[in-house]
């Protein structure tokens, strides 16, 4: 005979304001098998937990139902509570009467009725719960970082420092990411390359770090502690071990007119190229789409000039398979396309540029050698107009993003200040909706741009840019001045919204990691677990989780590394005991479950079964490896004969809950 205890939590007023908790406890006490039922202000408090433990001992409870917040919040807490009182932790059920009930209802009568129903379903289920024991699975002591920008580099360095091997997979020919393209950093104005390149070199020289550049993840299998990842290392047609990075090939290659991605197409590169001087690894890469040898079989200049014999036109993509205990997504961001915002004439005039392009135009290693020149005619610009929030803070639709891109206010202040500092003969206008500067020394920085550098900050927006007679005619509003402005500008700089890198979405699918509607990775908890994905063993670093500046990115990168290290130091992990279990007598060996299993946990075995008249028949039946099974339940629905069941969530238990709800 079951002896079930019911504990209804008030959660202060979170539940009790909308649900008559005393009534719930009273009504549930009448349910079959319930021998004890009570309510309490905070069940998760020390006193609340002790009350549960005392009740277990005093009333010799065989099952516990707690009506409280979501099991995502406190299931682990209460499992420990009942375990300490000598009850198997899986003889506990939680009825979620907060998120599923009190928070979404206003009417107390309705909410109370629903809370009773949810409690009743949990009681029906717990009657059928069986004690379960968790097993152990080993942890592969190696981490994978996907993305080699400042986020990925910092995460990898921290993990490597702790003594664990870590691989960085970077899709571009060099690590470094967006920060390599940035000129100066706010609010200190130190040179981005000066602080980044030492870290890139550290990563390259750290013996625990393996950089797989010009590579991408193709396939991810397994689960926390035991991932198997297939990585495609794209053919760069240059032997990385032989190339010395001398760059001679990149000077002699006759294909000269290829837009240079590193400078955002503001100048050209050759078909064989090294993205920039401090690239890591510093080896050349052949762009197969533009190489005459690879396209037409004619040329071979680079091979002729290479004294190291590193050129290999026959090189093929390589598939590498490795095992990892943890995976970190650090895929970063991209500025959005300006295609849908041609009121600013981005497609009509080369003098309308994005802020990232402006970084290159200010950078000593950029296409103009650091002298700010108008792209159209190479002359010195006198009037510059910066437009903030281009594509940020938009109301849905295809045009723009709903969120604030966060970094634009500060980099625009930086651009405006640097322009005025280097070229005091310029007039610089910044059109803003709001200036957002919540960060250490940020507002002081912005004020300096206004007060010391004389940047014209104008509350308003640009409505139209008309290129005419060698100028950009800017029509804008000055809301505080109460006028429409017409400025003849030489350059217009657009602070384009940022969005997650395009590679993030397919990666999330491979990782079974969740994303928000904007394709930013979702964190396990927005406040308390900000660097973990809800998928165990997957961690988040940098702007792939949301817009961030460099210090925030680095902080999050180190936090993600700490979480990875915390996982990798463990020799084994406690498995989830709620795994699939086949009823071998019912299994007909059809392989349906094997096909849907995302973890490769199901295999088949030929087993002898007793037939009629003392005969023995060999039948092919499913076997589940409980160390690999993650309890997703896909197989239980796929099984046509109903042979597959999930421990802790058996078909019987689920049906008992449904019956209780429908009663």
């Amino acid at each position: 005979m079951q002896r079930i205890g019911v504990f209804v939590c008030w959660c202060g007023s979170n539940i009790a304001a909308t649900v008559d908790v005393e009534k719930v406890a009273r009504v549930l006490s009448q349910e079959p098998g319930v021998v004890y039922s009570t309510d309490y202000q905070y069940m998760c408090s020390q006193a609340g937990q002790e009350m549960i433990q005392e009740a277990i001992r005093e009333h010799r409870l065989t099952g516990v139902v707690i009506c409280s917040c979501s099991p995502r919040m406190h299931e682990a807490t209460f499992r420990k509570t009942v375990e300490k009182a000598g009850l198997n932790p899986y003889l506990l059920e939680i009825a979620n009467i907060r998120e599923h009930c009190s928070w979404i209802h206003k009417d107390k009568l309705t909410a109370t009725e629903k809370a009773v129903i949810l409690g009743r379903a949990a009681i029906a289920k717990v009657q059928l719960n069986a004690p379960l024991t968790a097993g152990k699975s080993p942890v592969t002591k190696r981490a994978l970082v996907i993305g080699g920008g400042i986020a990925g580099i910092q995460t990898a360095l921290d993990i490597a420092e702790a003594g664990f091997p870590v691989d960085i997979v970077e899709k571009k020919p060099t690590i470094g990411g967006k920060m390599t393209q940035i000129d100066k950093t706010f609010p200190t104005l130190d040179c981005a390359a000066c602080i980044l390149t030492p870290k890139m070199v550290d990563a390259a020289q750290n013996e625990n770090i393996d950089i797989l550049s010009y590579a991408q993840v193709e396939k991810i299998q397994g689960f926390v502690g035991n991932f198997t990842v297939t990585i495609r290392k794209k053919a760069r047609y240059v032997d990385e071990n032989k190339c010395t990075g001398c760059g001679l090939c990149t000077e002699k290659c006759p294909q000269k007119k290829i837009p240079n991605e590193f400078n955002l197409g503001l100048d050209n590169r050759r078909a064989i190229y090294i993205p920039f001087a401090q690239a890591v690894p510093k080896v050349a890469t052949i762009d197969p789409n533009h190489c005459a040898m690879l396209q037409k079989g004619k040329c071979g200049v680079c091979a002729k000039v290479c004294t190291a014999g590193a050129i290999d036109y026959k090189q093929q993509d390589q598939l590498i398979t490795r095992e990892y205990g943890a995976i970190v997504a650090a895929t970063g961001f991209e500025p959005i396309s300006m295609d849908k915002f041609d009121e600013f004439a981005y497609s009509q005039s080369p003098d309308v540029v994005t802020s990232l392009e402006f970084e290159r135009l200010m950078n000593a290693a950029g296409p103009t050698g650091g002298t700010l020149l108008r792209p159209s005619d190479g002359t010195h610009p006198h009037t510059l107009v910066f437009v903030q929030c281009v594509g940020s803070r938009c109301d849905g639709g295809e045009k723009g993003k709903s969120y604030c891109s966060k970094i634009c206010c500060m980099y625009t202040a930086k651009h405006a200040m640097l322009t005025r500092e280097k070229y005091p003969d310029t007039e610089v206008y910044v059109f803003y909706i709001d200036v957002r500067t919540p960060g250490k020394s940020f507002d002081e920085f912005y004020r300096r741009a206004v007060e010391e550098y004389g940047v014209h900050y104008i509350k308003g927006m640009v409505g139209k840019v008309t290129p005419q007679d060698g100028k950009l005619k800017v029509q804008a509003s000055d809301l505080l001045g109460g006028r429409q402005l017409h400025i003849d500008a030489d350059m217009v700089i657009l602070a384009a919204a940022i969005e997650p890198d395009k590679s993030a979405r397919p990666l999330a699918t491979m990782l079974t990691a969740s994303m928000d509607t904007n394709d930013f990775f979702t964190e396990a908890h927005p406040k308390l677990r900000p660097v973990e994905s809800p998928t165990a063993g997957v961690f988040l670093s940098g702007a792939c989780q949301g817009p961030k500046d460099i210090p925030e990115t680095v902080a999050q990168a180190s936090a993600a590394a700490a979480k990875v290290i915390g996982l990798l130091v463990k020799d084994s992990l406690t498995c989830n005991p709620c795994t699939a279990q086949p009823d071998e007598l019912m299994c007909n060996g059809c392989s349906s479950c094997e096909k849907v299993c995302p973890y490769g946990a199901i295999t088949y075995a030929d087993k002898p079964f007793r037939g009629p008249n003392r005969t023995t028949r060999i039948r092919r039946v499913a076997q589940v490896n409980p160390a690999v099974c993650q309890g997703c339940g896909a197989c239980t629905v796929a099984c046509p004969s109903g042979a597959m069941d999930l421990l802790g969530f058996s078909n019987k238990q689920i049906m008992a809950e449904v019956d209780a709800i429908c009663r």
Partner: protein
């Protein structure tokens, strides 16, 4: 192939060139534009008020007739296109308008936006095809630098008009390329010509038209082309460039219309 055609009032009087050369060219390209029987004025301006039902009814009537004929409804005048297209969106999306319009008109089969509204240029692009059109050109307008003037009504609001990119449209430029001309891109091509305000405030309308034409001229345009009679009027009044209907250029390229540009 035959499509239902809504010419609109102005095309019967002041803008006969837009209409005539449009029909003859389409005929030459293998498509007959058959005027809707007993069509009425579209209303010229789209009523922005949610509670204005009656002023949208003549557009609904035309749409219904096209639905009953089972062909798309082709328009040529930008204003007619704007009104009819938006009325069609309204009746599909706004339940109040749909039920009230149907109650007024009480058709045999209630109308809820089934007809397809096509602008003449969309027929050229999507049915005839610009590649195909360029093969049928007899007198290519080689070397003529023409600024396409879109104005407002074809493009905006883009969510309903769904005609082209509202800030960077290409359909008229692609058309100009197909007939051998050289399109000139200028930013003011989608800024207002002065519209109906020309009636009360001629000076202002003229300054708008001048801003458009000056920008086009500065970018190298020798002439402008448009699909809207009111735009044409304003540009002729206030602009410094010759302005013609795009159907005139088409007819000329197809060898139907004589004379120099």
């Amino acid at each position: 192939m035959t499509y239902a055609y809504f010419p609109g009032c102005t095309l019967k009087t002041k803008a006969v060139d837009l209409d005539r050369w449009g029909r003859e060219s389409m005929e030459a390209l293998g498509i007959t534009l058959e005027e809707l029987p007993q069509w009425q004025c579209c209303g010229a301006v789209y009523p922005l008020a949610k509670d204005e039902i009656a002023s949208r009814l003549s557009a609904v009537r035309a749409l219904m007739a096209a639905r009953d004929q089972g062909t798309p409804l082709v328009t040529l005048c930008s204003a007619c296109h704007h009104v009819i297209k938006r009325a069609n969106c309204d009746i599909a999306e706004d339940e109040t308008f749909r039920s009230r319009a149907n109650a007024y008109l009480s058709p045999e089969t209630p109308y809820s936006g089934e007809a397809q509204v096509l602008h003449y240029l969309e027929v050229l692009r999507d049915v005839v095809g610009f590649d195909n059109l360029s093969r049928q050109v007899k007198n290519p307008l080689t070397g003529v630098k023409i600024g396409a003037y879109y104005g407002c009504l074809l493009l905006r609001p883009s969510r309903q008009m769904a005609f082209d990119d509202p800030e960077n449209p290409t359909i008229l430029e692609d058309f100009l390329r197909a007939i051998g001309a050289q399109p000139v891109i200028y930013a003011q091509r989608n800024e207002c010509c002065g519209g109906y305000v020309t009636l009360e405030n001629q000076g202002f309308a003229r300054s708008r038209a001048a801003a458009v034409a000056d920008n086009a001229a500065a970018q190298g345009a020798q002439m402008l082309t448009t699909a809207c009679p009111l735009c044409l009027y304003n540009l002729q009044q206030g602009g410094s460039l010759k302005t013609v209907y795009f159907t005139e250029l088409l007819a000329q390229a197809l060898g139907l219309k004589e004379g120099a540009l």
